[in-house]
Subunit: 294 residues, 2 copies
């Protein structure tokens, strides 16, 4: 959201009255705004599907960008297997634009992830660099510094995926990721998971505006916090996704917003129930993207 | 959200009025806009489902308004059957807000439809009043005049459903419906089917603006005209639904926009394929409605 106090200075007001095209508010947005970001699918939305099912599902939904998870393309894949995977993606007009989230608990695991990304040919590694303390995953400055060096060496970007308040010392918010990377290689940045950001009491639209200089990827979703945190189809969640989309447009975000729909259908539930939820999310977010261009 | 009325000083308000609120463009819309219309389901979207399946489907999609088709509640239903149907709707938090489209080829069929609507307790009868000429259905001024009398007698509204150019003399466009009813009882109006309006080369957003004084119901959808006219999930159609939603908000439309998704899944296609399409449409339209409030 814009800061209306600074916005409604006299000069701004004059510009506003004159034609509304220099400033952006909820009531009056600049003419000719462009959505520069792409809408994609986080692999997890399709965690119950095979690769073929995932790609057919994405084709049906007219979705063309996939953040690849290891259950669809194992980390230990050979180059031939990777190439076969990529050909299959191309057949469905899908581009794997990134990999992850990948948990990296050692420098070796960092290197392995970078080799995997390089072999696939993606530019972005969604990462959770951690070290274990008393059996708990903790965020790790040392691991981030190591990754920062790898970014330079491989010319790849790291997008740290924030989780939520249940793991408070492992990137609970976008802010915590940002603070960890802001003085490292400029290729060290964020995959802002807005659901986890929100449940850690942050405002995801504000996070977009504050941290956009390091924003490389987004996990979009909607959630309810009661009775306990859970995924819901986008129109029925607590977050104002319209605010998030407008923040992304305002800062000129040009990466990907990937839908991560983290539901686990109950055993015995109707086939296709998760697909239907994902379809509803896809429709909703595309509606917001359409409207954002005015 | 801030209260913009109290927020703007008089000078600002004047400037705002000068620049923004007499016209609504894609780039600049008046503050504090409200979506007054409801989003519902046209019975045809669920033509392959039983009543129970339809209501469960609507509940899942958080949809609460149904335009009742005869395949869900036959015209010859007894009052006890109608009451049972209504109780079932109430169990799923669904309101049957109208009936139809009902084809009315005789004055008796008009009366039967009005009795059916009255017995259910809805206010709106979506209608295609016609007479047969050389085995073709033609729109009929005489039938409309008869219906106009019934509107007064029953205090019900008729919303004439336009079809498309393939039946050129049977209400191809919203304009043709409007011209037929504009001098009749004010309860004679339109159910504007935007897909049919569009394929008859009208602009549905313009139709909303021109005929809103008689606009009682809407069938919303999206379509492609090539290789031949067919329904597609809303984000992938030719029509600019964002323009339509904005036209509806601008004219203060307070009726229902009912999704009519007219696909017929191929035999042997995956179960749930139509449900997924409908879910995507529901999400998209809700996204536009959310955005329209700014």
């Amino acid at each position: 959201m814009i800061d209306r106090r600074s916005f409604f200075g006299l000069g701004a007001l004059a510009a506003f009255a004159a034609g509304c095209n220099t400033v952006t508010s909820r009531s009056c947005r600049a003419a000719g705004r462009k959505v520069q970001f792409k809408f994609g699918m986080a692999g997890f939305s399709c965690h119950l599907m095979t690769v073929d099912e995932t790609l057919a599902f994405m084709k049906k939904l007219d979705m063309h960008y996939l953040c690849i998870k290891d259950f669809h393309l194992p980390m230990k894949s050979t180059q031939a297997e990777i190439d076969a995977f990529k050909r299959k993606c191309a057949d469905f007009d899908v581009t794997g634009y990134g990999v992850g989230p990948i948990y990296m608990g050692s420098d070796d695991e960092c290197k392995r992830a970078f080799d995997y990304a390089k072999a696939i040919g993606v530019k972005t590694v969604v990462a959770v660099p951690f070290e274990k303390k008393e059996k708990k995953r903790m965020h790790s400055r040392a691991r981030c510094e190591f990754l920062s060096g790898l970014c330079a060496k491989y010319d790849l970007r790291v997008a740290i995926h924030n989780h939520g308040p249940d793991i408070p010392d492992c990137y609970p918010t976008g802010e915590s990721s940002f603070n960890m990377v802001k003085d490292l290689d400029p290729r060290m940045g964020l995959c802002l998971d807005i659901g986890h950001d929100y449940r850690a009491k942050a405002n995801p639209a504000d996070s977009v505006r504050r941290f956009h200089t390091r924003l490389f990827d987004m996990h979009v979703k909607n959630i309810l916090l009661k009775p306990k945190y859970h995924a819901v189809p986008m129109p029925r969640g607590e977050m104002d996704l319209w605010e998030v989309v407008n923040a992304l447009v305002d800062v000129g975000y040009a990466g990907c917003c990937s839908l991560e729909y983290e539901s686990f259908p109950r055993k015995g539930s109707k086939p296709g129930i998760k697909e239907m939820d994902v379809a509803e999310c896809v429709g909703y977010f595309k509606g917001l993207m359409k409207a954002a261009e005015g």
